[in-house]
């Protein structure tokens, strides 16, 4: 799939370059600075027969700055055709209003960074940076391979598929601004990775119980996995830091105990990621919160669990120890391929 540059579109692009609106200049001034982070935007770039306001080719992201004209029926129909074509080429489209750029440039930039799948630049804070650094490295690596894979032909669309409604105007007036702030907070919190198992996000792990607005502040509700899990604090700090980095000031993290977390709360996506990471996902039979009769009565010694090897899939596995490197994992060994592996325990 090659992006064609039409001669006429090129000409029009140059013309537009001299006619930039104040909002576009302002946004361009900000987008250019992302280059330092390895993200290159072009302004008034022609894509086939269309000219888009801004585009990041490597991330397949188009950003359009709209004024009043796009609100007319004809304008809307035109935008729709254009979006369909661009989507067909694997682009995601983000639309922002002139007024948003004028009044809330930081919010616009956060939304763009979010869409790029890149976290906002970390604010240096020595004491908490370490526990979740692993997660960041993981993300950068993913981004890097995506770029190199592109070469001549364009790579596959980025893993973060466009969310519903993202192609529309994100903010319109104060009410929408508040709602999108909440949505942004939810996305930022959900994307924070577990410091011990950096392939899982908080959403995958099922510990994010909700994000709400209370007395004008954003409140993120988290539940711990185990009562004494040392990652609880690191996760809390990572969420606070990520929210602050996304420009959401004064957010609060609240711990929720009930209903207690269960390994069944791990999403399908999370289970898939665990397996790909070499950790056998938890069996579903237990951990429902309802105790089995045998547990109520007391002891269940040498209880049997069947766990498939995450590497070769063999069922010929044996438990080495019920306790592993973290509270949530047990140590197992595969008799078929001989590899030791972690099993994410039922709880």
């Amino acid at each position: 799939m090659r992006v064609q540059r039409h001669a006429m579109a090129n000409e029009r692009a140059r013309e537009l370059g001299n006619n930039r609106t104040a909002a576009e200049r302002r946004l361009w001034w900000k987008l250019r600075r992302l280059k330092e982070a390895g993200i290159k935007f072009r302004q008034h770039a022609p894509i086939d027969r269309f000219i888009v306001d801004f585009v990041c080719l490597s991330k397949r992201l188009v950003v359009e700055v709209d004024g009043g004209t796009h609100s007319t029926d004809e304008g809307i129909a035109r935008d729709r055709r254009r979006e369909q074509h661009l989507r067909g080429k694997g682009f995601r489209i983000l639309r922002v209003w002139n007024s948003e750029v004028r009044e809330n440039i930081d919010g616009v930039m956060d939304t763009i960074s979010d869409a790029l799948g890149a976290q906002p630049p970390p604010r240096p804070r020595k004491d908490v940076a370490r526990p979740w650094r692993g997660g960041r490295v993981q993300r950068r690596k993913a981004g890097h391979s995506e770029r190199t894979a592109e070469g001549g032909a364009l790579g596959p669309p980025p893993p973060a598929s466009p969310r519903k409604g993202e192609g529309r105007h994100l903010r319109r007036g104060w009410v929408h601004h508040r709602d999108s702030m909440l949505a942004l907070a939810r996305r930022v919190a959900a994307a924070v990775v577990d410091p011990e198992i950096p392939v899982l996000t908080l959403e995958d792990l099922g510990v994010l119980r909700g994000v709400e607005r209370r007395d004008g502040r954003i409140v993120v509700r988290l539940t711990p996995t185990y009562s004494g899990c040392p990652a609880t604090l690191a996760i809390r700090q990572a969420v606070e830091l990520a929210l602050a980095g996304a420009g959401i000031a004064g957010a609060e993290v609240e711990t929720v105990l009930s209903p207690p977390w269960s390994s069944n709360d791990i999403s399908e996506e999370g289970r898939r990621k665990l397996k790909a990471f070499g950790i056998a996902p938890p069996n579903r039979a237990c951990g429902s919160g309802v105790r089995r009769a045998s547990d109520e009565r007391g002891l269940t010694p040498f209880h049997e669990e069947r766990v498939a090897c995450p590497r070769c899939g063999s069922a010929a596995t044996a438990r080495v120890s019920e306790f592993g490197s973290t509270a949530c994992k047990a140590l197992w060994r595969c008799r078929a391929c001989g590899e030791p592996f972690d099993y994410f325990k039922c709880l």
Binding site: L257, E296, F323
Partner: protein, 249 residues
């Protein structure tokens, strides 16, 4: 102190002191897997203690936090039962002590999860899931040691005889607790007896160990009267915080 505060502190102190005892094994357990297991079990207990202390602080309303309760009270202020403060002894003694404790706390937390006190119910709802594998782990070891070699059998039997007199306290309830039980906030420990008996009987049978005769039971922990071991434990646990108040790392 209100009965509720006493009650919550008693539960928290049980968990903290036993958690600290288990943490003493870190780096000293008979093998690596067990070292990791004991540290994991210790973490669970300390985590439970923290949740309970945080609630105790709210109940008291005097601004004391988890650290104030754990590090700035003296022996007489602790409300834990005597069983949990007993020294680790050998590995068999640690496992026997743990089974005697966990076989009680598992059904206890299951009952407390239905408390009229929502916060206690929430904390218990998490703890019960953890205590299930505490029972399993200690039970498996009890069986392996009892039904193992002559030496391991002898050690497990000796630990059982030594620690049995501390099990009476598990089932005590003072006047304050009785009122809370009446109100549906606390759990009647007498009602936990059948479940505890069943677990212990089953483990002992498989372990080929004999249940010690009843006899005289030790008491006093819930009223702050402790064995000499608690003072030594606190000295080690609290020294850093007392020498450098508010120290963090």
């Amino acid at each position: 102190m209100t009965p509720l505060l006493e009650y919550v502190l008693g539960l928290a102190d049980d968990a903290l002191i036993l958690g600290h005892r288990l943490s003493e094994w870190s780096g000293h357990a008979p093998m690596l897997e067990e070292d990791i297991a004991l540290s994991n079990l210790a973490l669970d207990l300390i985590g439970q203690a923290r949740l309970l202390y945080a609630y105790a602080g709210e109940v008291e309303g005097a601004g004391r936090d988890e650290d104030a309760f754990a590090y700035l009270r003296d022996e007489r202020g602790f409300r834990n039962i005597l069983l949990v403060e007993q020294p680790n002894g050998d590995f068999a003694a640690t496992m026997v002590r743990h089974l005697l404790y966990a076989a009680f706390k598992h059904p206890f937390y299951a009952a407390l999860a239905r408390s009229r006190d929502q916060r206690l119910a929430d904390i218990a709802g998490k703890a019960v899931k953890e205590m299930a594998y505490h029972v399993r782990h200690a039970g498996e070891w009890m069986i392996r040691l009892g039904d193992g070699t002559e030496e391991s059998h002898r050690r497990a039997a000796a630990a059982l005889d030594e620690l049995w007199m501390y099990t009476g306290e598990l089932f005590e309830a003072d006047a304050g607790a009785a009122a809370l039980i009446e109100a549906g906030v606390a759990v009647d420990p007498a009602a936990i007896r059948p479940a505890w008996d069943a677990t212990i009987e089953r483990a002992l049978a498989e372990a080929t160990l004999k249940r010690p005769a009843g006899g005289w039971m030790q008491s006093g922990g819930r009223r702050g009267r402790h064995s000499e071991h608690l003072g030594h434990l606190l000295a080690e646990m609290q020294v850093l915080h007392r020498a450098h108040p508010g120290a963090t790392w």
